[in-house]
């Protein structure tokens, strides 16, 4: 199940966020049960507790993917990324440049510009983007070696709003790792995008706000594995008419 993004090899295709858990202990449990190898983290104004949180993450033995959550401009995102690189000692950055307050939709124009700037500065950019093909192309041209489209707004738990768009994205970028970031609510949603051939999923709210986050983390891990295995097994295309599954040859005739 291992896969590679930039030159990092990850043992799990599930990336987990670390926010909104009821307690640090529950967060630690969920990370363990998810089997994840990569967790997202953030930077905020120091108000106490930052050191304890960072120690907790280091003790879990996972890699970190710092984000630029809350940034609305190229300059904010670049400065935040530089601060994150020093603090977390990694070149990985989940690049978010938010364009709309209500939908938290990325500002794809600023995103492309920031991606180019950060690539030039030696970052491994993981862009939070939409399912727009042309934006994806621009991000790849800007140096991104992974794309992370939303499938629905952040935290909405809606699941994939447009599986056809995600399928088209997969077809357009056969060589680029594709990760669905944002909008997944249930394990079945994760399985659905993995069945399409996506390389991984990034989750936070769906696990953190579940009734039992650790159990939900385990459920998502199973779903990601199931979806990936199904993709390799080549699922049937849907058909409009019934097709008998039991052989008709040799059928008894009673009348």
């Amino acid at each position: 199940m291992a896969f590679t993004i930039y030159d990092d090899v990850f043992a799990s295709r599930l990336i987990l966020g670390t926010a909104q858990y009821p307690s640090p202990a529950v967060l630690a449990d969920a990370v363990k049960r998810s089997g994840t190898a990569l967790v997202t983290v953030s930077l905020r104004r120091e108000s106490g507790g930052g050191d304890a949180f960072w120690q907790l993450i280091r003790d879990l033995g996972v890699m970190v993917l710092p984000n630029t959550a809350g940034c609305h401009s190229v300059r904010e995102a670049v400065t935040t990324a530089e601060m994150a690189r020093e603090l977390f000692q990694t070149d990985r950055i989940k690049l978010e440049v938010i364009g709309h307050h209500d939908t938290l939709q990325p500002d794809v124009f600023a995103l492309v510009e920031a991606a180019g700037e950060l690539t030039a500065r030696g970052f491994k950019v993981y862009p939070y983007t939409t399912d727009d093909l042309v934006v994806g192309e621009r991000l790849v041209e800007a140096g991104c070696k992974v794309l992370m489209p939303w499938c629905a707004p952040i935290g909405s738990a809606r699941g994939p709003r447009d599986l056809h768009a995600l399928r088209a994205l997969r077809a357009a970028f056969p060589e680029i790792p594709l990760i669905v970031d944002a909008g997944l609510g249930r394990p079945s949603h994760a399985a659905a995008v993995m069945e399409l051939g996506f390389d991984g999923v990034l989750l936070n709210t769906a696990v953190a706000r579940a009734g039992d986050p650790a159990a939900m983390a385990a459920a998502f891990a199973s779903a990601v594995t199931a979806g990936r295995t199904a993709h390799h097994a080549v699922p049937l295309e849907p058909r409009d008419m019934a097709v008998p599954s039991t052989p008709v040859i040799g059928r008894a005739v009673f009348a």
Binding site: T40, S42, G50
Partner: protein, 65 residues
Amino acid sequence: MQVIVNGRSLEARAATLAALVDELGYSGAWFATAINGDFVPGPARPDVPIRQGDRIEILSPMQGG
């Protein structure tokens, strides 16, 4: 002089960013700094002067999605 640290206005005596973070009680490697929107790496803090009205951000690791 008056500076703004993490959005709060305060009176600082320090002449450099390194002295300012000391004055505010920060130590260790678990925070990162920026001044007026520009990142300042830890090793550069002693060379960055503090001026009246500077906006300083001191950020630390936090949960994120």
